[in-house]
Symmetry: C2
């Protein structure tokens, strides 16, 4: 299978490089910079180490037209994810895209249209945390009925701010903290609940962002899902530099028959079968890009489908709109 890569922003392409040694039939044949200022040298070094000799393009469309790749990995500028994804889908490629796939409602519609017009093509975003051992183990426990019916979910993404590239400082190129950071939390909510989003209320603040332009340093989102399931997402870049890890990712899922929590890379369960709280052994036997490739080949059903991508991206954009406009937004009325 021929693989092309576009752009190298976001940092999640590492999941592709990690998988390639285990996918000998997938060959990197082309690389295109996503923006003139972005340097693809690190990717060329990666290719060299793996024995690939890709062609390098400055125009990604030209690359797609010439090389006709089976798979395109999209890690270009965030505001071009949708366009690049749509262009690749239209040419018949499967697309593995940095999240979120769209920063605006128009971009999301563009991707949906291209996807619908390309039957049999697989589209996924790099929602790597579904494959994290603790979050995956917790999801399996929920799916297997360990906590009964899900009623309440609390999620948390807390990052160190650190030094960030200039494109994080501008809504047009960053998209906002709710889409960029929140997407993972919203995906947990959607994935663990197995329900559909019905409404969202959110707030976000740029205060104390240490000169980072538009970047929101704190945000809080409140979702309702079908069946009166409620879910919170607390998002921030306030984690101190001295914290033991970059991120502090958490999920707490309360069900009718138990409580499940992921915190510090561990999964904790309380239900009728446990004495007090037990620590679950955590593991994930799937790797995100291998899962993507095997899904294309019909060998498995990937954890993440295009419908999931569309639902969670809509949640990102509607939550951001809620925060911008200071009002509750109903998903059904939004027609996203």
């Amino acid at each position: 299978m021929k693989l092309c890569l576009i752009g190298n922003r976001g940092g999640h392409d590492k999941h592709v490089w990690d998988a390639l040694p285990h996918l000998p039939h997938v060959q990197v044949v082309g690389i295109a910079s996503g923006a003139p200022e972005d340097d693809v040298t690190p990717w060329l070094r990666r290719c060299d180490a793996l024995g690939f000799t890709p062609q390098v393009f400055t125009d990604y469309r030209q690359m797609l037209d010439r090389l006709r790749p089976d798979i395109v990995v999209v890690c270009g500028p965030f505001e071009l994810h949708a366009e690049m994804t749509a262009e690749a889908l239209r040419r018949g490629s499967h697309v593995f895209c940095e999240k979120p796939v769209a920063l605006t409602f128009e971009q999301l519609a563009q991707v949906k249209t291209a996807y619908t017009a390309s039957p049999g093509r697989h589209l996924a975003t790099i929602m790597n945390l579904r494959y994290d051992p603790a979050f995956y183990t917790a999801w399996r426990a929920v799916r297997d009925g360990a906590i009964g019916t899900v009623r309440l979910i609390n999620t948390q993404k807390s990052y160190r701010l650190g030094r960030r590239d200039a494109y994080y400082r501008n809504r047009a190129t960053y998209g906002g903290t709710i889409p960029w950071v929140g997407v993972h939390a919203f995906d947990w909510i959607y994935w663990y609940s197995g329900a559909a989003f019905t409404s969202v209320y959110a707030t976000h603040s740029m205060q104390y962002n240490q000169g980072n332009g538009d970047l929101e340093v704190s945000a809080l989102c409140h979702f309702t899902l079908t069946g009166e399931i409620f879910a919170s997402a607390s998002l921030d870049y306030l984690r101190p530099a001295t914290a033991p890890t970059h991120g502090d990712d958490r999920v707490r899922v309360m069900g009718t028959d138990g409580a499940l929590e992921v915190r510090g890379g561990q999964a904790y369960l309380i239900n009728a079968a446990t004495e007090g709280e037990v620590v679950l052994p955590v593991a994930c036997d799937r790797q995100i890009f291998q899962d993507f490739v095997e899904h294309i080949e019909g060998e498995t059903t990937a954890l993440l489908t295009a419908d999931d991508v569309f639902a969670v991206t809509a949640a990102c954009l509607l939550a951001r709109q809620s925060a911008d406009e200071g009002r509750v937004i109903e998903f059904e009325r939004s027609n996203v």
Copy 2:
């Protein structure tokens, strides 16, 4: 000082009994049942053990008129807190009331009017968690600048449902889970932030309440405070019977210079002065009812003032209204 008690619902009167041996100048002189069906025998046993021989009344107003107590402890039916508090204030007593002090806006107005008309009288509710060693220690750390300016607060109250008295099953006598359980969480938010509530959005659900009438088993509240401080409160009765404790109380406070968390009775801090996360030694040298009495005597300023009670009770009632009506509510416009 003469002390009278009205009613024995809620379970928080224990803080009064715990303190009395250390307050030899405070004498229980009268006890009135809050409702005909409530049995004051347990309180008479307590009095006996402490050497008090109180008069017992069926009409609490008669008790107030006859005994003219300095202090009245109000633990009557929840829907009578406000009336009993107002009656005692009007007669010149200081009032120590089970929380929340009011279940409706009208009741809250009644208490405010009585308080304003009784200058020099002290009013507090039994917000015992302010005096919990971990929560108190964390508050002192925030107040002392350990995390800089507060930006984001996440709170959690999670209880076992267990078997509850019939009055929990009716909104009119219970008030709802947002006021009854949420009051503690809202108080943490108000207390730790040092800011004023500006708006709230909340949701609550009676689904899966195991035949408990109106009782909401899950609720989620989203507050904004002055300065774009955001705060969540996750409330539930979903904690499994096998959980190691009845409640799972938590607060996480993120500031511009640090992160502070209370969980499992411990307080955790990360800031520029810590290497990774440190566990704070927790302690509280104040007891809630002693603090109340010493405040009356002018020996200290109690942790909780009547203004705090009014602000947090308003938060309870407006959050519940938001959940009932499905809309964001602005505090300023509500005139509560």
